[in-house]
């Protein structure tokens, strides 16, 4: 009998191959997960800055020579902001330099001033320190995103501007604060003012429509197919149909929405109503498949018990089987909604890709959606929009994580072993 401990050269090679083979698997997982961490990590690093914003304070001479208490609406706030800037840096005289100086604050600074004065008319008559949103370049500079070692001509801020910013900072008139505008504002051409609320509302409205349409239809279809439909060619056909719909590229649903909902039925373009309808086409198969699995997990004994005491098949299904399967159905629906929240392509087809400043309040308003906003911002050349894009992605991911967590908790809580 041969020695079991003896290792022939062939056996050594086979064991080496074994080790190698295991390392292929480990490396594959490492690469895939490494990519995940790299992607989420870099987006987080990139986007975290957008949650703070640079503000700078100016001494605004709200004196009677510039503004009258009787005509607060008619005052030239723009001139006031510019004057304050000139007062801060009196040695700036050249026209070109002045324009650079004015660029330190956001173009909307005059509106911010007006809002403050209207809110508190007692400010008029004295020179007051007022905080303004800094322009995106100042913001980028403060966050260290502008490389000042580069040649002056190739960067957005020249040395003079940097000097001014540093001076303001020394006076304590510049600070980084929480960026509430990002969460409370709509889209804007100016990155320092752009916010996600309009897109978020668009997504919320679309998803509500999507849920209201696809959840009832989905579960009723699932109940019929699982509990009532005769197992014949027809129900087999429906089943194949549903499986195939689940794998249709999402952009095709967008084309359907464009051709039928918009062009044929004439529903309003860019509206959350149509967005939700298109998204519900995609979530429907997911919900049906999940709901059927959930119904199948309810043991036949429960149906038999109900039928045995004289319940009709409809009563047996709705009183006894469906309540047990409902958590599973809801889990499927939430997962379907999470996917719908992230989907972009079909919304592009139905025009939810517009520049939306106002926050939509109804399902017929023009709106965009969170992922579409990401797509739009990603296309903008400004460095500051890159930061906003990443931040919007973080917000989107947080919502996806929350939805999935809810699904997991639901599943854990109601998971029953029959």
């Amino acid at each position: 009998m041969t020695d079991f401990t003896k290792q022939s050269p062939g056996l050594k090679r086979r064991h080496a191959a074994e080790i190698r083979f295991q390392w292929y698997g480990r490396s594959a997982i490492f690469i895939a997960l490494g990519f995940l961490f790299l992607m989420v990590g870099s987006i987080t690093m990139n986007g975290i800055g957008a949650f703070t914003q640079t503000k700078l304070a100016l001494e605004i001479p709200l004196t009677s020579e510039h503004i009258s208490v009787d005509d607060l609406e008619g005052a030239n706030y723009d001139a006031l902001v510019k004057l304050a800037l000139r007062n801060t840096f009196p040695d700036v005289t050249k026209r070109r330099d002045k324009r650079k100086l004015y660029g330190l604050v956001s173009p909307y600074a005059s509106f911010q001033l007006k809002d403050q004065v209207l809110a508190d008319p007692t400010l008029v008559g004295k020179t007051t320190k007022i905080w303004f949103t800094a322009s995106d370049y100042v913001d980028m500079y403060i966050k260290g995103n502008i490389d000042i070692s580069r040649d002056e001509k190739t960067r957005k801020l020249n040395n003079a501007q940097i000097g001014w910013i540093d001076a303001i900072q020394k006076q304590g008139n510049l600070e980084k604060v929480f960026n509430s505008a990002f969460f409370l504002g709509g889209d804007s051409r100016e990155p320092e003012l752009a916010g996600i609320l309009s897109a978020f509302m668009g997504s919320a409205l679309s998803l509500s429509v999507c849920f209201l349409l696809s959840f009832p239809i989905g579960i009723f279809a699932a109940i019929y197919l699982e509990e009532f439909a005769p197992k014949n060619r027809w129900s087999g056909f429906i089943e194949i149909n549903i499986n195939n719909l689940a794998a249709v590229p999402s952009i095709v649903f967008g084309l359907l929405g464009l051709a039928i909902f918009l062009n044929f039925f004439g529903l309003p373009r860019s509206s959350p109503l149509v967005g939700g309808m298109v998204l519900s086409l995609m979530t429907l198969p997911t919900i049906i498949i999940a709901s059927r699995a959930s119904l199948r997990a309810v043991p036949p004994s429960i149906r038999e018990a109900a039928l045995g005491i004289g319940a009709s098949p409809v009563q047996a299904a709705f009183h006894h089987v469906v309540p047990l399967a409902l958590p599973g159905m809801l889990t499927g629906a939430i997962i379907g909604m999470a996917r719908a929240l992230g989907d972009t392509a079909p919304l592009l087809m139905i025009g939810m890709v517009a520049f939306i400043v106002d926050i939509p309040t109804g399902i017929l308003d023009k709106a965009t959606a969170l992922p579409v906003q990401i797509f739009l911002w990603a296309d903008s050349p400004e460095r500051a929009f890159q930061e906003k894009t990443s931040a919007a992605i973080l917000v989107l991911l947080v919502f996806l994580v929350l939805m999935n967590l809810v699904a997991i908790i639901l599943r854990r809580k109601f998971e029953q072993r029959f």
Partner: protein, 269 residues
Amino acid sequence: MNVVSHEDKSATEPQSKEEPIITARNVDVFYADKQALNGITLDIPANKVTSLIGPSGCGKTTFLRCINRMNDLIDICKVTGEIKIGGQDIYDEKVDVVSLRAQIGMVFQKPNPFPKSIFENVAYGPRIHRLVKTKGELNDVVERSLSKAGLLEEVKDRLDEPGTGLSGGQQQRLCIARAIAVEPKVILMDEPCSALDPIATAKIEELIDELRENYTIVIVTHSMQQAARVSQQTAFFHMGNLVEAGVTEQIFTTPQDPRTESYITGRIG
């Protein structure tokens, strides 16, 4: 052959009339916290058929799977004690399970031919162990193994057809041929006929009898008739203990232990 039951620990060294090929000493097996085998001590003689019998869950299959260390595949399974084959402790850390299993063949409860051709099924072992150098040699090995398993006549014209297309009995003989092809010293059989009809069973039993000339066979069976028909030695397991072992005839005619008697007469099991 002489055997000591678990209860009688005073005589741990059985005096053997002939040199056993497999010797087990105080083998305990645990699945997590549950003990499946209690101090099994058993000698298995060479070139004989030894059958392991007992009611289901008694540990006979567990013991069989200790002999080629198939239990290693189960994470929670722990084996203590000593099993020697040809004088070597197979649980020694220097032992290579691959080379061990190459020399201890195994046939399973349900026929499990690979979804490949009949030829490829038998050629699998010789290929991975590089036992042959040329295609001609491989053909010889396959043919010889099929012939030893009594299957050659039935399949020689369709070696390229899938092994899964054979009948149950043929599939099991194909599995035996596949095991023989790597030229093991010992063949372990785990209820090889439990999924077969009586005619196929008879053929396999006949085959086992022929194979004994060249191989040591250990067979787990739930059928006492089968044990009586094919084996020369029998070991009776009950609730993880080895109750009694010895010459088959003696076990069936004059069992020493009341539990053996109950089982053989059909009162437990």
